[in-house]
């Protein structure tokens, strides 16, 4: 019974996070939200009796890929800085 409520809550949170990931103006927030979706998914996996998957998702799906996203964002940002004011950058990245 509890599990149902918790998983429903998790589901709602994940969908909200997905929405943020898709629509938040700031790309950084969006990337973090994507990582959060993975993190919540790994909690869900624990409830579904899949600790192996949970570990993998946490480490790889939400951990490493978020870091790679950051690296890329960082790179693109610095590329853009060459000719623009910092305010505009978010516009580009958005």
């Amino acid at each position: 019974m509890d599990f149902k409520i918790i998983s429903a809550l998790l589901g709602i949170i994940m969908l909200a996070m997905s929405f943020i990931a898709i629509y938040h103006k700031k790309m950084i927030v969006a990337v973090i939200a994507t990582g959060a979706v993975g993190l919540f998914a790994s909690i869900m996996y624990l409830f579904l009796a899949a600790p192996d998957v949970a570990m993998t998702e946490a480490a790889i799906g939400s951990g490493l890929s978020t870091i790679i996203f950051f690296y890329v964002l960082n790179r693109i940002r610095s590329n853009d800085k060459e000719g623009r004011e910092s305010d505009e950058i978010d516009e580009v990245i958005k």
Binding site: G11, I22, G38, A41, P51, G61, V72, I93
Partner: protein, 118 residues
């Protein structure tokens, strides 16, 4: 419970596809793809769940007898492990492409990369 999670999974798949098909920014599209992948993984793990089962790790002696009725399905879990790692590889590669594309045209709008068409 698995009904709820599998539904969540499907919804996230659709959300990911929505992002892939409507957002113009390439990074955003890759985020969509990442969500799409995560959704599929959730669906797969939900499918592995057996009502009342425990993780397929036989670290307690009582699990060694009548194992089949006590654990959840290890096969989809193994598949998900593989799928997650593949997803990471694909995402990383896509991001590398995104960097290249950006350094080429100083833009991340997918519509500015239409040199090849028709």
């Amino acid at each position: 419970m698995e009904y709820i999670t599998i539904t969540t999974g499907f919804l996230i798949i659709l959300a990911g596809l929505w992002a892939i098909m409507t957002r113009k920014n390439i990074i955003r599209i890759i985020i969509g793809f990442s969500l799409f992948d995560t959704g599929i993984h959730i669906v797969m793990v939900s499918m592995a769940y057996v009502k009342g089962g425990v993780a397929p790790i036989l670290d307690k002696n009582e699990l060694l007898t009548d194992t089949a009725n006590k654990i959840v399905d290890p096969v989809p879990q193994a598949l998900v492990l593989t799928a997650i790692v593949i997803g990471l590889g694909v995402t990383a590669l896509m991001l590398a492409y995104a960097m290249k594309l950006h350094s080429e045209k100083k833009s991340l709008d997918i519509e500015s990369f239409k040199d090849l068409k028709w």
